[in-house]
């Protein structure tokens, strides 16, 4: 038995499949520590990133639980104001740069991109290894900065506060600066790989949609991240040597920092969400057993988002002292970028119509994604409405909005990916019933945590508040309970996945009976991805006929 499709009825029973004796997988080819530490195999690099980002998620999640617990009562509950300010900074930095940005592209993108385009590896395997070590070095600097006292500027590092904050700003901005290079290197690698290493006959319009999503993401990573690097470098220099770059008393301009920062950090939300959208496209088509209702709409809207996403950064600054004309222009451009997201949502839902739908865990996560993303996205339209943003800016409404769309979207997309590609990566099946429980509880926990925060923001509760007026306590308590449910569910999920990776049932090569290209390789794939040269004649979304087996 090698690379090809397994009878679906066998897949439904979990199968009694053993890997053919003597067949090497990428996991078993070499097993020494160095074979992992110095690997240039894109699959192993993907796995390394998966462990790194999952650890970051656990850490950032633990910070979040502590922050929410602090808010059980006004004033001090479990930590001081100084501790709280440092913790929300670390929560943001860890979640944004150590988890969300690399979570899907660096882990799943690395693992799947070459397989999806029929290549043996990425274009620059050694650069790929470098990106792992840049990530680790950056993470070490950020977490080391935490050990030497932490920083209290918020993940946005707004000047001039970040220039004068009495905390360890320099190691943290240096860490993020280094992680930025990891991001750039990965993006560059993906762009070149997609351009130059597609298998013969695999034109752009035949690529799996996940590849389009990764490509769009990579373009943003390469173009936007250098601006973040510049902005953080200036903050670091200002903090360490007092050059007064953002100090108005010496001719600097504090608002300039915000422009530089958001020029990266707004597109960065698309770095986080586009790969998740790619996952959703794959999962919807596989479990609906149907072609996407408009391949072109999904592929092109990716570029609409990537391009217009660069022109909306000013909507973070409506009340920061920009002219009314600028506010209007950034407002309408922000509306435009929302339209591209809406196109994707409509296309996914239409794809389900007249499909043959199997409601498995990954698809349940798609449902969670759809609700959180549409609700979060529409509240994005609400905060892009300039007069309403004046009231909501820097309140819990904004916190709830970006957690719904950015975190909710990325987290549910990531969890869908984890479950969907679990058999591909590990060669084993996750327990379906536990998966369903986890998907339902993640949704409930997430909704309970962040929905009350919309109401808090309406009521005027500013964000980054250690202490708060007592009328907000009830909603804070509900939100904290939600966070506990979400935290416990995440622990539960990671536990059964860890168990299944070792003890789960053996998976067939293509347990979902998917047409997408990565499922034509064995599970887990051999070191060079394919045993026989793969055939891409059958389209990635052609469910009108059974998949011909290659051998």
């Amino acid at each position: 038995v090698t690379a090809t499709a397994i009878a679906p009825e066998l897949a439904d029973r979990g199968g009694e499949i053993e890997i053919a004796p003597g067949r090497e997988t990428y996991l078993t080819a070499k097993t020494s520590f160095l074979s992992w530490a110095l690997t240039t195999d894109h699959k192993r690099i993907g796995v390394l990133f998966f462990f790194g980002t999952s650890l970051a998620l656990a850490l950032g999640g633990a910070f979040a639980i502590a922050l929410r617990t602090e808010h059980l009562s006004p004033g001090r509950t479990i930590m001081s104001a100084v501790g709280y300010n440092r913790m929300f900074t670390l929560h943001g930095v860890t979640m944004v740069w150590l988890f969300m940005i690399p979570s899907i592209p660096s882990a799943f993108g690395n693992f799947l991109l070459p397989i999806m385009i029929g290549a043996k590896d990425v274009a620059f395997p050694k650069l790929n290894l470098l990106s792992v070590y840049l990530y680790l070095a950056g993470a070490a600097l950020v977490l080391g900065g935490m050990l030497v006292g932490g920083t209290d500027t918020g993940w946005t590092f707004y000047a001039p506060y970040s220039s004068v904050s009495p905390t360890a700003v320099v190691p943290v901005v240096a860490g993020v600066f280094v992680i930025g290079f990891s991001s750039i290197v990965t993006g560059l690698n993906f762009i070149v790989t997609t351009h130059t290493m597609r298998a013969q006959g695999l034109g752009w319009m035949r690529l799996p949609l996940f590849v389009w999503a990764l490509y769009g993401t990579s373009v943003i990573q390469v173009l936007a991240t250098p601006v973040l690097g510049v902005a953080l470098l200036l903050v670091g220099i200002d903090h360490a040597f007092s050059w007064g770059m953002f100090d108005p008393a010496r001719g600097g301009d504090p608002v300039l920092f915000q422009h530089l920062f958001w020029f990266y950090s707004h597109p960065a939300v698309y770095i986080m969400i586009l790969p998740a959208m790619g996952v959703i496209s794959e999962v919807v088509c596989t479990f609906a057993h149907k072609n996407p209702s408009s391949y072109k709409a999904i592929a092109y809207s990716t570029f609409g988002i990537a391009f217009v996403g660069f022109l909306t950064w000013g909507h973070h600054m409506f009340v920061a002292g920009m002219s009314a004309f600028d506010a209007g222009a950034f407002g309408i451009l922000s509306m435009l970028v929302a339209v591209f997201s809406a196109i994707k949502v409509v296309t996914w839902v239409a794809t389900l119509r007249r499909g043959s739908i199997a409601l498995k865990t990954p698809l349940l996560y798609v449902f969670a994604f759809l609700f959180l993303f549409v609700f979060g996205g529409m509240t994005g339209v609400a905060v892009a409405t300039t007069s309403l943003d004046v009231h909501w800016h820097d309140t819990y409404f904004v916190v709830a909005h970006f957690h719904f769309i950015m975190v909710g979207g990325t987290l549910t997309g990531w969890l869908a990916a984890v479950h969907y590609w679990f058999p591909k990566v590990t060669g084993r099946l996750y327990p379906e019933r536990l998966g369903v429980v986890s998907a339902v509880l993640v949704f409930i926990g997430f909704f309970l945590t962040f929905f009350p925060q919309f109401l808090l923001g309406n009521g005027g509760m500013p964000r980054r508040y250690y202490d708060y007026p007592p009328q907000f306590q009830t909603l804070h308590v509900v939100s904290t309970c939600g966070a506990w449910i979400l935290g416990a569910t995440m622990l539960f999920t990671l536990t059964y996945l860890a168990w299944a990776a070792v003890r789960g049932e053996r998976a067939p090569a293509n347990p979902w009976d998917s047409r997408s290209f990565e499922w034509r390789a064995p599970s887990p794939p051999p070191p060079h991805n394919f045993v026989d040269p793969p055939s891409f004649e059958h389209g990635a979304y052609d469910y009108t006929r059974p998949l011909e087996t290659a051998s």
Binding site: P8, A11, D12, A81, N85, P160, Y161, V164, D247, P248, A249, P254, V255, K290, N291, S293, S294, Y295, A297, V319, G321, M322, S323, A327, G328, G331, M335, L336, V339, A342, V345, R353, R354, S356, A358, L359, F367, F371, V374, M378, T379, V381, T385, T386, S387, H391, H393, D394, T395, L455, N458, G459, G460, P462, R464, Y465, Y466, D467, Y543, T544
Partner: protein
């Protein structure tokens, strides 16, 4: 409206603009919740209706027709643009103070607010204003960025170091309304609170007379002595006579023609920018000789000079003196769009 506010958890409305903003809020949020629910329900219904009947079930190749796609996209775009049009009109009202609004000066620092009034008095924990009167706040920070936020008034604006920003409101009901700092500013950020105290006309008059009795120097008087001490009056006259720099007389809220052909209204933002960065917006016909006062004038002194200039807004015209063109438009109603004018550079 009060029912909608209760449903959305909004605080009671305290200004003339709050009602229409809350109405738009309710509409936008309803559309948000309805569309999220519709998408969810549609997806769920498809999952039931088109559930897989047997393993390996195949499907037809179906795509949305282009016309259908364009209709959906067009519909979405139209509703988003409608939000933008209504919201942007409201935004212009929120940032454009009516001419003739009373002014109070706000100084922010870690972690307290100071409010100064033209009569020369100041308060720390509360900003006192009369009901029904448009009040403009001219705000500056002494250290990092802060943000003045009054939830009940639906207003918020960042308070920057080195530059004045403004925000305005016209309170409708006497009462006490909390002020929060909305821009993270360090350890005691969440403790940086104050309140707006809106008094009835009679109470306000009582409050004012009780303060004037204490015999303070008005801000305009302080401004005159600061202007003399700092050398402003060496080049700028107070009586409209031409000199090295533009006269202060009838300058405030007049339309000024600049060297590069643009025109600006001489409001708080323009006047303070001219003190801190004189070459940025140089008035036509004057030599570029003014030094910067950045780091020289304290926020209090800057506010005092502003008050001096404002006190000369309706000064007598001296015989034979050419004055800058005055803006003659009547003070607009709160509900009117007055057009966008830059709040800051």
């Amino acid at each position: 409206m009060d029912f909608v506010r209760a449903l959305l958890g909004l605080p009671p409305a305290g200004t003339t603009l709050a009602d229409e903003i809350d109405r738009l809020h309710a509409i936008v949020i309803s559309v948000t919740m309805i569309s999220a629910t519709l998408v969810f329900v549609a997806a769920f219904w498809f999952c039931v209706r088109y559930r897989r009947r047997f393993a390996g079930q195949l499907t037809k190749h179906i795509t949305i027709p282009l016309a259908g796609e364009l209709t959906v996209i067009g519909g979405i775009l139209v509703s988003f643009v409608a939000f933008w049009i209504v919201g942007y009109r409201q935004f212009l009202n929120l940032v454009s103070a009516p001419s003739g609004a009373a002014v109070a000066y706000v100084t922010a620092k870690q972690w307290m607010w100071t409010f100064e009034y033209p009569d020369g008095t100041s308060t720390n924990d509360s900003l006192v204003v009369p009901v029904g009167q448009a009040t403009k706040l001219a705000m500056i920070s002494r250290d990092v960025i802060h943000s003045l936020y009054v939830p009940a008034f639906r207003i918020k604006h960042d308070v920057l170091p080195g530059r004045y920003t403004t925000v305005w409101f016209r309170p409708t009901t006497p009462g006490r309304y909390p002020i929060f700092c909305a821009e993270y500013c360090g350890t005691e950020h969440s403790g940086m609170r104050a309140e707006v105290v809106v008094l009835s006309e009679k109470d306000y008059a009582d409050w004012q007379s009780s303060r004037v009795a204490s015999g303070t120097v008005s801000m305009a008087q302080t401004g005159a002595s600061v202007a003399a001490r700092r050398g402003c009056l060496a080049c700028h006259t107070l009586n409209g006579a031409p000199h090295v720099g533009p006269t202060f007389s009838r300058l405030y809220e007049s339309t000024v023609r600049l060297e590069d052909g643009r025109t600006v209204v001489a409001d708080e933002a323009y006047l303070t920018r001219s003190m801190m960065d004189p070459m940025a917006d140089r008035v036509a016909g004057f030599a570029s000789v003014m030094p910067t006062y950045r780091g020289v004038l304290s926020p209090a002194d800057t506010g005092a000079i502003l008050e001096l200039i404002k006190s000369l807004r309706d000064a007598e015209i001296a015989a034979g003196v050419t004055l800058p063109h005055l803006e003659v438009a009547a003070a607009p109603d709160a509900g009117e769009v007055t057009g966008g004018k830059d709040g800051a550079p």
